[in-house]
Symmetry: C2
Subunit: 321 residues, 2 copies
């Protein structure tokens, strides 16, 4: 049987039993180390699967690779210690592409006070950027997916759907003719230079919520909500009107909400925590952050739109295979 | 310009300036963490570059991948905490291949009391196994390449050239007709199931040498000696007669010493330390370990063979591009 027949979910089911108990199933692994925790996450980008010369410069590939991994650390409540880079290159790769890639990696990492601490370069038939990021977090501050209690407020940072919109603009130059230049740049930048929400980690540490569950929205906002609910054994009621939709999206697609819920790669955080702490967190974050609903004891995930309850499948997720 | 024109050395020169100072150039990066050290190393294997279905079963690819990374930890004096696995797969990969790979990984890791703690599976055009291993080591016990003093004894563990011999036997079924079955199996096993020398780490901790420099011999015994000398600013006199040559090699090649010095992938340790501690270490290791020479204040690396001094180039190394 081929892996295309079992899909990504089947593949993960296959490999999980070979992993140490309690280490997989979250955005990153958490390992006890001298009374603190080491957090480790790996993410690999492959040419023509995760990036392409058409939409992403080498510098942007570097930035995005670093940002995606730092986002996984933020999703665990961890601050970064460093990353390693495994770089697979066909021999005819341009030297300039490699230099630009590292400049993008270093620029993103420097912004968050961390850097590259090692790696491996190797020959391959396809350009491949394999990053492992590690960070640290106190045991009491680890954010897991399975810790949501019923009745928790669901907080979402930032705008969703912007990365998808930016990608579509890059792929179709005829799209968004009515978009003003600043809005267009903002959307494209959201795709090329996503910002990991490490800024939220110290705010959470300050608030010390009674409980917190969370993950990042790299595979889409809806996927994050569904995964948090599944892992925690809860459901959710999401208020459609509380979800912000970037005005720029309206001119690009008839149903912006689909891009907001399913676009992916926005690298924002989705957190479940007690309502008072959630309200305090939204205030501390300032600007773009909102409570978009609450978790429920029943397992359904409902989208409340104009007073109508829509039952959404919790199985929707980005399929890598 | 293409990277094939600057080679692996040129590529490393290009990327090093983007790495945090003091973290690259050894078998692994060392990061201070709560008064101890976190050691991190990354190694990537690609189908048809580092392994092939012809010579390596999926289970062996798994074992070798894990062993190579654990060997890098041993070379830093560190004991393993865990590994992450980034696995790139074409959609038509057999499910059984993936299961066998993980079984091989887990078997090797279990032997050393560690395991897989996370990873990423992704679609690629070529099977790729990207491993990051992390371990821990007290600051006083870190083994770096640049710490060799002149007059140090050079200790080599195990037999070299066996992995190369095993590979040649797998590639050419007509080779080694006179070899008895046990010797043949030993050589093939050396290639398929290399053993990282984590057993040496606690012995070194027990001896607490005044200084120790070292690395593993994954790119060949001669390369390891040359790299240690370069990093430490010393030379070496190597006694050819002190280097063990596995008897099985004699029937396979006219010049076994070439395979011993240049074969690579034996994953043994090459260590420079004061003579008395070196002698004690060889005794503690028992069996296959030997002092094969000493470091010198002059930078040349000499191979002493039958009383003749051969000056060997220190530039010989495995070129990945």
């Amino acid at each position: 049987m081929e892996i295309s027949e079992i899909g990504e979910a089947g593949l993960l089911q296959l490999v999980f039993p070979y992993c140490l108990p309690g280490t997989v199933g979250d955005d990153a692994a958490v390992l006890a180390f001298r009374g603190e925790n080491l957090v480790v996450t790996t993410d690999v980008l492959v040419d023509r699967v995760h990036f392409s010369d058409q939409t992403t410069s080498a510098e942007d590939v570097g930035w995005r690779s670093a940002a995606a991994n730092l986002s996984d650390l933020a999703a665990m409540g961890a601050m970064p210690l460093g990353i390693t880079v495994g770089l697979g290159l066909p021999p005819n790769t341009q030297v300039q592409w490699v230099a630009d890639l590292y400049r993008g990696l270093a620029a993103c990492l420097e912004r968050y006070g961390t850097g590259i601490v090692g790696g491996d370069v190797y020959r391959s038939t396809v350009r491949t950027v394999a990053i492992t990021a590690f960070g640290r977090v106190e045991s009491s501050a680890v954010i897991r997916r399975d810790a949501a209690m019923p009745g928790a407020a669901i907080v979402v940072t930032g705008d969703h759907g912007k990365s998808k919109a930016g990608l579509e603009l890059l792929l179709d130059l005829n799209l968004g003719q009515d978009l003003n230049l600043l809005d267009r740049q903002e959307l494209i930048r959201a795709h090329q230079r996503p910002v990991p929400r490490l800024d939220v980690v110290p705010l959470l540490n300050k608030l010390q919520p009674e409980f917190v569950a969370g993950m990042d929205s790299s595979d889409g906002l809806w996927d994050a909500i569904a995964q948090l609910c599944r892992a925690s054994g809860v459901g959710a009621r999401i208020d459609r009107s509380a979800i912000s939709i970037n005005p720029g999206l309206w001119g690009l697609t008839e149903r912006p909400i689909n891009w907001v819920l399913g676009g992916g790669e926005d690298f924002e955080l989705v957190l479940c925590l007690p309502l008072p702490t959630a309200q305090a967190l939204v205030t501390l974050i300032g600007g773009k952050a909102a409570i978009i609903g609450q978790t429920t004891a029943t397992p359904e995930i409902l989208l409340i739109d104009d007073g109508q309850e829509l039952l959404l499948s919790s199985d929707s997720q980005f399929q890598h295979f």
